[in-house]
Symmetry: C2
Subunit: 520 residues, 2 copies
């Protein structure tokens, strides 16, 4: 005779099985990117396909449906009586996952996979030829598929707004109605600030940037990076660190979180910022509760990115951080930094915080990055809604870059073809980068309120208290609070609010470029 | 309407699926031993358990039975007409595998796993307490289970001789009737040789051994090891090399073969011999045909070990090899070897080839190692047959070590408890170590016959011709020749023959210790 408790327990068995097998997939993917010899590529593809098949079987096991039906048959009162709020959240998350895994019919899923593969190929070819028109038909098909997929994922919502279905995939609980005024507020503040900064920058001596380049010993840089992430609090008992062409984080479980960074022999900063960024992601993954249940997974891409950017920017761009880190870069990393005078240190900080408008999003600083996201969001939302022609993308892109950053885009490869995202049939991911930056600033304001001497601790390399704050307020809650607004209300006292991000940018860049804030 | 061809093709699909998923298991195991952070141990156990379950499902898929029945229904003539000898071998090997995977009932398999786990725990406790009596009841149960398992694996053979069933698991096609005279011939030759060697050794100045120890830079040693295995022919496009406490080889496919060695800061030779040994295993795995079919897997443990020992001993203990390798150890490895005079080089060779009787099998040289295997084989065969009491093991062990090596065993931990093997319910593995050494000598004799200037090539670091010989004669045949006798007949012109091993030992050690061969 089954009880609410016995059904719940059985559900947990199924959920943990999926979780552990997802972890196998994570390790095999990490291995592919970091350790695998080149000759094994095609064998690995077959292996990953088998894993995907088994994972699909686990995630779509019909027993889930039986268990959910059982729970329904008990009625909400007895479920509420028998289970804790946490356990109810487990069931809620399990239902969401199961719906995600079973909502797309097999033939549509196969078509999606086909479009993704064709889209990627076309994108690579178009980028190589620097010609958007080669990719345009694929983008058209991808957007159509994105609409189709949305209609399977959430039929009712999709009828009103397919973009809302997609953004919810990456940023739980978010809608365009909530997002648009946030982005508008940011745009309104950043556009004039950026204008002033770019104007001020024209007359500056930029020789300070030379401090970043030279010829470095990668093995020593590696040791400095390890030392820094270790001091920040990366747990090497439950994780490891390697090198790869693009830094990334992979979690197989909170007990096995792996990060990479990239090393160059001619520039040292990128390895450090990569390490700090990925360490921020890793802290989130390492400090989720290791239950194997979906309520203890990360909440959203925007929250994940807030954790990496908290460390990379709020901590990692600060004077105090570099008072701590620069000697490690010099002494362990073998970088001949001059740190004896205030002006030498100031030059280092200028180089690290330099605003440098770039065609390329991923090479942009935190200020100009904002504009890259704003325009991508507008374009993809409008293209999905059908209010912007796909063929117009290149000229609108180039005009926007000219308007925002004052740059002339030379070709589509460094313009609207630079990002891989649209080669797949989905939209809604780009805003999460900006939400991450915004949330990081809001969280930082709350940390400073709760720990007034936080930056003195940073200068002394005492990061434990910050990490503890983030763990208690953010990490350990997983998806229990099922939206960024709810989680941030718990953590900071209010839902997402762009004012902290705006204040952070204004304060920092007005000081850096001697801009009078009252003129903004 | 199915044909022999269509059934064969479908069988290949199933076999490749199993092969690829075995490869996933291999990578996850390698990761566990080489890359995994310590905190992930228990999660990894759950992950490996899931993988084992899926692998079991693939390997015992009832469709195999259906396909075999189809093939039977076509009759042997039409199968022979439709399929090549290679394809028929695929079917033969598939049947053997399927029988292996399905012969043990589930409850027996669970009991086996339980005994293995309990046996390991008891062995660890007994070894720590240096007291065989703690482990004796487990050994009793393990041997009983080994008999039971044999009766499921091959009921008829097991009724006559359970040991034959077991040895066939590790050394395809071998029986005690074939093995016993081989081992007797080896014992008869080695016992008097070893006596003379040990007598001669007593009066020797052993200061040459100092050349192996010192304080070394592990990073430089790593580079020297990589250089050496690369020059030997290890294919880094289809493999990689790492460090681990115990050297081993893992193959996920011929395109992804991974080896490890161990590094110490106070001794340099172990890393090199470990690397060469594992490279020998790796050459076998890298040069199996990458078909994903069981006919292209390694034949037996003895043949696998012949490949590692061919390189470790036949090549890697030779003067000519060290003429090539010693400068790399010195120049890349940072080991201050003196190689200027003949006598300095001779001292190095003495250190590398030193005979040094040791209680411990895995720390023994190639000559005394023989005795370790002979006694283990006798004991386990007799205990399985019930002709030796388990309680007698320690005193018989110690007496044999005294007799063969002139050493007094101080306690069971360095005596009959030193090896992990008997903590599991199987026997029959130990002989394959000695067969590997023996087959390596036989193969080496054939290589010298076919390539008369082989050792001059070794001295010049030209290993390609040797590797090609081994690939063409051994590796590429997988299990097509289904016993070591058949494979060696193909490769060397005759079945397993101990005379080459005996001649090799006599010639080498008589020269080293100035022993008159006619006195043996």
């Amino acid at each position: 005779m089954s009880t609410v408790r016995s059904v719940y327990d059985r559900l947990c068995v199924l959920l943990r099985r999926s979780h552990h097998f997802s972890g196998v997939n994570a390790i095999m993917q990490y291995d592919q990117q970091v350790f695998m010899p080149a000759g094994a590529a095609s064998v690995r593809a077959s292996q990953l396909e088998l894993i995907a098949g088994f994972l699909h079987d686990l995630n779509t096991d019909p027993e889930f449906k039986t268990l959910f039906d059982s729970i329904d048959s008990f009625g909400p009162e007895s479920v509420e009586k028998e289970l804790t709020a946490y356990e109810s959240a487990v069931i809620r998350e399990a239902r969401i996952k199961y719906r995600k895994h079973t909502s797309i019919p097999k033939n549509v899923e196969e078509e999606r996979a086909k479009l993704e593969s064709e889209g990627y190929d076309a994108w690579v070819r178009a980028k190589k030829a620097k010609d958007f028109s080669i990719f345009a038909p694929n983008l058209e098909k991808n957007l159509q598929m994105a609409r189709t997929l949305a209609s399977y994922m959430e039929p009712e919502k999709a009828q009103v707004n397919a973009y809302d279905v997609w953004i919810d995939q990456f940023e739980r609980g978010l809608t365009q109605a909530r997002l648009d005024p946030i982005l508008k507020e940011i745009r309104t503040a950043v556009v004039p600030l950026l204008e002033k900064v770019l104007a001020a920058r024209k007359n500056m001596d930029n020789s300070f940037a030379e401090v970043l380049s030279g010829t470095f010993d990668v093995e020593k840089l590696r040791k400095a990076n390890e030392e820094i992430v270790k001091r920040l609090g990366f747990d090497f008992e439950n994780g490891r660190m390697d090198a790869s062409p693009h830094p990334f984080t992979t979690s197989s479980s909170p007990h096995d979180v792996r990060i990479t960074t990239r090393y160059r022999a001619d520039e040292w900063l990128q390895s450090i910022t990569g390490s700090i960024h990925e360490a921020g992601h890793a802290f989130y993954e390492q400090n989720l509760k290791p239950t194997g249940l979906p309520v203890d997974e990360y909440l959203s891409m925007g929250i994940h990115e807030s954790q990496s950017l908290f460390w990379e920017r709020m901590v990692g761009l600060s004077n105090q951080f570099w008072k701590f880190a620069a000697p490690i870069v010099r002494d362990v990393g073998g970088v001949p930094l001059k740190l004896d005078t205030e002006s030498e240190f100031a030059d280092l900080m200028k180089a690290i915080n330099d605003v440098n408008p770039n065609f390329i999003r991923v090479e942009s600083d935190e200020l100009t990055y904002v504009m890259h996201i704003l325009m991508r969001y507008e374009f993809e939302a409008q293209m999905l809604a059908g209010t912007m022609k796909i063929s117009e993308l290149p000229q609108r892109w180039n005009a926007q870059i000219k308007d925002y950053l004052g740059l002339e885009v030379t070709d589509d490869a460094v313009g609207c073809l630079q990002d891989v995202h649209w080669s797949s049939p989905f939209v809604g991911y780009f805003p999460t980068y900006l939400l991450g930056a915004m949330n990081a600033a809001q969280i930082f304001a709350a940390v400073k309120r709760d720990i007034p001497d936080v930056m003195e601790k940073v200068e002394k390399g005492e990061f434990a208290v910050i990490k503890e704050w983030l763990t208690n307020k953010i990490h350990t809650h997983g998806t229990f609070y099922p939206s960024a607004d709810e989680l941030l209300t718990h953590a900071t006292g209010e839902p997402m609010n762009p004012k902290y991000f705006i204040a952070y940018l204004r304060e920092k860049y007005c000081a850096m470029y001697n801009i009078d804030p009252s003129t903004l």
